[in-house]
Subunit: 627 residues, 2 copies
C-alpha cells in the first residue's frame, strides 16, 4: 500500500450514487418532501415564477427583484437532483412547464433576466458590482446543467448556452467589450459546469476571462461607476475586498469580505486551476485556504463573523452569539473544498467538507425540512430561530440543492483509483480501470465509526482504494476480507492497492471517542472554554436539556464524558452526558458582590449542534466554560 495523490480523480456524479443511510435519509426525505416543495411554493407565492412570463408593467406593485431568478434556478437545480434519486412524474412535468416559461423569457439575443428585461431594460450590464446580474445567470447555468444531468433533457441547457453566448459577446477583451465581472461571483463556477456538460471550450474561456479580470487595475467597478455617473467613493462597502476584487485573484493571500462571494470565487479558481493546470492560481487557492482554516473558520465549519458585511472581519475574531456563519457560506465552503480535494488529492480538504457539512450546513434547515437558518451562531440566548423563508432567500434553496446532490461528495474515481471521501451508507456505480465497479458502504456513521465497504468490479482488476481518515480520528483499523491491513494515512487517506474482485469486503473501524476541542487562545472568545466533538459532529448544550444560564455551567477538564444513543431525542441521536458544576444565582440581591457564586452539581446533556432549535426555544452554547 502506498499513498498517492488523487490528481485526475473526479467526483462521482450524484446520478451514480444511491444513498441509503440512517443519518442522511431522513434529511434527504425532508428535503424532498418539505424543503423543495416549500421553495417552489414560496417562489410561486412571491411572484418569482410568474416573473418569467414578463407581464410586469411599470407602475405595478411587486416588480421582479434582481435576486429572484437565482432563487428559481436553485429550486430547479435542487428539484432536478431530487428527481434523479426519486423519480416523480408530476415534479418532472412541473419543471418542464417552468422551464418553458423561462425559455419564453429569453430575449432574441439570448439575454435572460426577468428584472432587467421588464423593470430596467436600459440598465442591462451597467452595474455589475451591485446588481447580481451575472450571478443570476450563473445559477441558471447550474440549473440547466443539473436538469440535463438528471433528466437528459436539453431545453434549459440550451437556453443557458444561448445566454452564455450572449454574455460572451458583451464581456471580453475585444474592442467594445466590457472587461467586467460580477460583484457576486457565481457565474465563474457555473461556466465550468457548463463546460463540463457541453465540452464547449468557450465557456471555460469565459470563466478564465472573469477570473483573470477580477481586481485588475484600473478597477472595472470604478470605470463602471463613473460611466453610470456615480462616484466610486460612494460604494457602501468602501473597499472592493468586500467582493474579492481589490487586487488580482492570483495575488490574493487573505480571505476577505462577503463570505459567500469569497467561497464561490475560490471554488471557480480551484476549478480553473485544475482545468488549466494553473500553478499560480492553485497556489493562491492554497494560501487563501490556509488563511481561512487557520484564522477564520468556526469549529462548526461556519464562516463569517459579522452581519455587517455578511462576512469576515479580522484574524481570530470569532464571536459566538453574533457569529454570522451564513448557511450559504458553509455550503460554498463545501464546494471550494470539494474542488481543492480533487485538485490535490489531499484529505485535509475532505476534513473541511465533513466539518462544514455535518455542522454549519445542516444546521441551516430544521429536522422536518420546513424552516431555515440564514445565520448559524455558536451560542444563543434563545431568540434566534429558523424561519420559513427570507426576503433575501438564498439559503433555503441552496441547502436544498446541496442535500439533493449529496451523492456527489461521497466518492471520487480515476483511471486507477476509487476514493471514499465521506462515510455514508450508499452504493456508487463507478468507472475505474476500464470497467464498472460498484462500491457499497454499510455504516451507522456518524453515530458509529464502523464502516463496511464492499467493492465489486465486473471483473477482477487492480486499482487503489483510498479511504479518508478524518482529522478527528486518531486511530483506526482496516481489514480486507477479514485480514487486518496496515493503515497509515498519507495526505489524509489510507490507500489499499490490490486486485479487487466482486464482493471484496473492507472493514474500517474509526475510533470515535468524545473529544474535547480547544481554540487557539488568540480566539479571545474561546479562552478557558472547550467544545465537545464526537466523530465529525460538534455538540452543543441546549436549555431543553440543561435549563437556563448555560454560561454558568463549568465542565471540569478531568470529567469523563459519556456518549449514548438516545432514540427519544430528536428522532434518535447520540447525546453526550457529563457531570458539571453550575454557578447559582440564588441569593444574589444585586448585580455585583465580593464573593463568587456558589456552584452546584448538575448533569449535562449535549446534542449535535446541527440539531439545535428543533425543540422548545431556549439557550444554546457550543463553547462551554472549562474548569
Amino acid at each position: 500500500m502506498t499513498a498517492s495523490t488523487a490528481a485526475h480523480a473526479v467526483p462521482v456524479s450524484f446520478a451514480r450514487v444511491k444513498i441509503d443511510d440512517r443519518f442522511w435519509l431522513p434529511r434527504i426525505k425532508a428535503n424532498r418532501e418539505q424543503t423543495i416543495p416549500c421553495n417552489f411554493q414560496q417562489c410561486k407565492e412571491t411572484g418569482r415564477l410568474d416573473a418569467f412570463k414578463l407581464k410586469w408593467k411599470q407602475g405595478e406593485p411587486n416588480p421582479p427583484h434582481i435576486f429572484w431568478d437565482s432563487d428559481v434556478a436553485k429550486y430547479i437545480e435542487a428539484a432536478s437532483y431530487s428527481l434523479k434519486a426519486h423519480p416523480a412524474p408530476e415534479l418532472d412535468a412541473k419543471l418542464d412547464a417552468l422551464i418553458a416559461d423561462i425559455a419564453s423569457a429569453q430575449q432574441p439575443d439570448g439575454y435572460l433576466n426577468t428584472h432587467f428585461t421588464v423593470v430596467r431594460p436600459e440598465k442591462r450590464f451597467t452595474n455589475l458590482r451591485d446588481e447580481h446580474e451575472l450571478y443570476c445567470a450563473g445559477h441558471m447555468f447550474e440549473a440547466g446543467v443539473a436538469h440535463f444531468q438528471a433528466t437528459g433533457k436539453r431545453t434549459l441547457l440550451e437556453v443557458c448556452c444561448r445566454y452564455a453566448d450572449c454574455i460572451a459577446t458583451v464581456f471580453g477583451t475585444g474592442p467594445g467589450q466590457k472587461r467586467g465581472y460580477c460583484g457576486h461571483p457565481e457565474i465563474e463556477l457555473a461556466l465550468i459546469k457548463l463546460y463540463h456538460a457541453t465540452k464547449e471550450k468557450r465557456y471555460l474561456e469565459l470563466c478564465r476571462f472573469f477570473v483573470d479580470e477580477r481586481g485588475r487595475e484600473p478597477n472595472y467597478y470604478n470605470t463602471e461607476a463613473l460611466a453610470r455617473g456615480d462616484d466610486p467613493k460612494n460604494y457602501w462597502a468602501k473597499n472592493y475586498s468586500y467582493t474579492q476584487a481589490h487586487k488580482p485573484l492570483r495575488e490574493q493571500d487573505e480571505v476577505t469580505g462577503h463570505a459567500v462571494r469569497a467561497m464561490y470565487i475560490y471554488t471557480a479558481m480551484a476549478d480553473l486551476a485544475a482545468e488549466l493546470d494553473d500553478a499560480p492560481l492553485q497556489a493562491a487557492c492554497e494560501r487563501l485556504w490556509k488563511h481561512a482554516t487557520t484564522k477564520l473558520m468556526y469549529v462548526t465549519g461556519g464562516l463569517g463573523s459579522s452581519r455587517h458585511n455578511e462576512g469576515f472581519t479580522y484574524d481570530y475574531d470569532l464571536p459566538t452569539e453574533t457569529a454570522y456563519c451564513e448557511t450559504c457560506a458553509a455550503i460554498g465552503f463545501v464546494f471550494w473544498n470539494q474542488r481543492m480535494l480533487h485538485l490535490t488529492g489531499d484529505g485535509r480538504f475532505a476534513d473541511v467538507i465533513e466539518r462544514a457539512l455535518y455542522n454549519s450546513v445542516i444546521s441551516g434547515v430544521s429536522l422536518d425540512g420546513t424552516k431555515f437558518f440564514y445565520e448559524n451562531p455558536l451560542a444563543s440566548v434563545g431568540a434566534h430561530h429558523r424561519q420559513a423563508w427570507f426576503g433575501c432567500a438564498c439559503c433555503p434553496p441552496n441547502i436544498a440543492r446541496l442535500l439533493a446532490s449529496l451523492g456527489e461528495y461521497i466518492y471520487s474515481e480515476s483511471d486507477d483509483s476509487v476514493s471514499v471521501n465521506l462515510y455514508v451508507q450508499s452504493e456508487g456505480s463507478l468507472r475505474v480501470a476500464g470497467q464498472n465497479v460498484k462500491v457499497k458502504q454499510q455504516t451507522d456513521y456518524p453515530w458509529d465509526g464502523a464502516v463496511r465497504i464492499t467493492v465489486s468490479p465486473e471483473q477482477p482488476a487492480p486499482f487503489e482504494l483510498k479511504l479518508h481518515q478524518p482529522d478527528w480520528c486518531g486511530k483506526l483499523s482496516v481489514s480486507v476480507n477479514g485480514s487486518r491491513v496496515e493503515a497509515i494515512a498519507a495526505k489524509g487517506y489510507i490507500s489499499i492497492q490490490r486486485e479487487w474482485k466482486a464482493g471484496d469486503a473492507v472493514e474500517v473501524k474509526l475510533e470515535m471517542p468524545v473529544a474535547r476541542v480547544y481554540s487557539d487562545p488568540r480566539v479571545r472568545m474561546n479562552c478557558g472554554r472547550v467544545a465537545l466533538q464526537r466523530g465529525p459532529l460538534v455538540y452543543c448544550l441546549e436549555s431543553a436539556d440543561n435549563g437556563k444560564e448555560l454560561n454558568a455551567v463549568e465542565l471540569s477538564r478531568q470529567q469523563p464524558i459519556e456518549a449514548t444513543f438516545d432514540a427519544n431525542v430528536l428522532g434518535g441521536m447520540v447525546t453526550l452526558q457529563a457531570r458539571a458544576k453550575k454557578l447559582s444565582s440564588d441569593g444574589w440581591s444585586g448585580l455585583y458582590r465580593p464573593t463568587p457564586a456558589a456552584g452546584s452539581e448538575v448533569k449535562l446533556k449535549a446534542i449535535p449542534y446541527f440539531a439545535w432549535d428543533n425543540r422548545e426555544p431556549g439557550e444554546m452554547l457550543v463553547w462551554i466554560r472549562e474548569s
Copy 2:
C-alpha cells in the same frame, strides 16, 4: 449617634464649594483649559454659534440641525460653572456676547429654536417624538439657570422664562392646547431648575404636566403622527418604551429604551416627587432604580447594552466589548441618583453616584481633556478610541458641565445636618443650624481612604454630621478630635450628632483593600470572570502594560494583588499588580486541537478603568478570567 434620613437636605451649590483635590483638580483644569474651549471652538466651526444669528436661508448648505441649540446651551452651562470657580473676564465677555445672540434669536412670542425658526418654521411643535425641540429648550433653561447662578446676570434666565412661558401657552390641558411631551426628556428636569431659580410655581406646574401626560392613552405620539399624516406604525423604534412613553410614568416598573432619555426623565420624576411629596412617583422611582441597579448596570456604573437603541436590552444582558454605556447615560445616572439621595437620604444612591462618576463618567474624556468617548465599553480589541468631536455631540459638553459643577455633588445641608456624600479635598460654605458652617476635607481619596474633615461653624452649634460609608468599604474608623467614635452606618451614613465648634476635626479612615468583584451568574458574559476594584475605582488591564491577548490571562482566585502608587503611570495612579497565567498561542498551527494551550506565568498590571486609552492603542479588559 443615630441615623436619620436626609429628607429636606439639599445639595450645596457648586457656587459654595471650592475643590482643591489631587485627583480632581487635574480633571477640572483640563476641563477648563481644554474641554470647554474645545467645545466652544467646535460649536463655532460647525456653525452652531452663528445659527443664532438666524441668517441661514433655504437652499444654503449647513442648515441649523435640530440638536444644535442644546450643544451651545450645554457649553454655556459648563462655562458658567467654570467661571464661578475660576473667574475669567474674557470668558465672561464671550458668554455675554453669545447670550446676546441667543436673545436676539428669540421670537416675539418667546419661541427660541434656531432650526425651527429658519429651516422649518411651519413644523414647530408638530413632531415632539423625534425632533428634540423641547429637549433643546430644556438645555437652554439649564444654561440660563447656571449662568444666573454663576454670574448673577439674568439676561439668559429671562430669555428662558419667556420661552418657558411660550411653551406653557402651547402645552397644557386647556382648550386648543397640545397634551404632548418631548421624545427626549430633558425639559422636565430643567423646569425644576428654572422653578428653583425663579421660585415661579408655573414652571413646576409645567414640569408636572409633562410628567403626568407621558405615556397616557391615547398616546400623544400616535395623535401627533396622525396629525402630520404619518402612520404611527412607521416609528423606527417600534415601541414607545424607547422614549419611556409606553405607559404612564407612575405605573412603570422597568427601565427601558434609550438610556439617556430614561435617566433624564427619572431625574425629573425624583425632583417632582420631592417637590410635591408625591409618594406614587417616588415609589415608581424606587422600582425603576431597583431594576436598573440589579439587572442593567455595568460595574462601571455605565448604562445601555446596545448601540441599536443607545440603551437597554433585557435583564442581565451586559456585553462588554459592545457595551454602549454612553457617557451621557452615566452622567444622567449621576443626576438621577443625586435626586434620589436627597429625596430619601439613603446612601445607596451616593454609592451609585460614586460608581458612575469615578468610572463610566470620567472615562468619557481623555486625561488631557481634548478627546471624548461616546461609548464606554468594558473590553476593547484596540479599535475604540476617544475622538475630538462627534456629529451628534451630546457627550463632550455634557461631561464638561458635570466636571465644572462637581462641587454640587459633595455636600448636602439641611436645617440640622451636614452630609459628606463624596470624599473630595474641598471646602464647602454651608448654612446649617442658622449659621454659616465651613466644612473642609483633606484627603488623597480615591488613592487613599484617610479623610480629615474640619467642621467650623461661626458659633458652636448642635447639628448632625453625616459621613457616607461607600458600599465597597467594609470597615472604617471615625474619630472626633482624636477620640474614636462608634461608627455604625444606617442607610449608608455614619451619623455624628454633637455640638460642633470651629476647628473640630473628624478623622475618617476607610479601609481600601483591593477587592475582587463578581457578577450575578445570570450576566452570562462575566461567568468565571472577576473585576478588580479598589475604593470606588474599577480597574482594567491594558495592552500597554500587559501585551496582547488579554483574554488569555487567567488570574488565580488565591493570588494576592498588590496596590502601589505609581507616579510614572498616567500622571500618577495607584496601579494593581499580580502574578497570573497566560495561555500561549505558541505552537498552534490550526485553530482547533484536542489539547488546551499551555500557560506561562506573567505579571499583570491593572490601571483604573477611567484612565484607559490614554497611551498607545491596544486591548483593554475589565472582566478578567479567573481560575
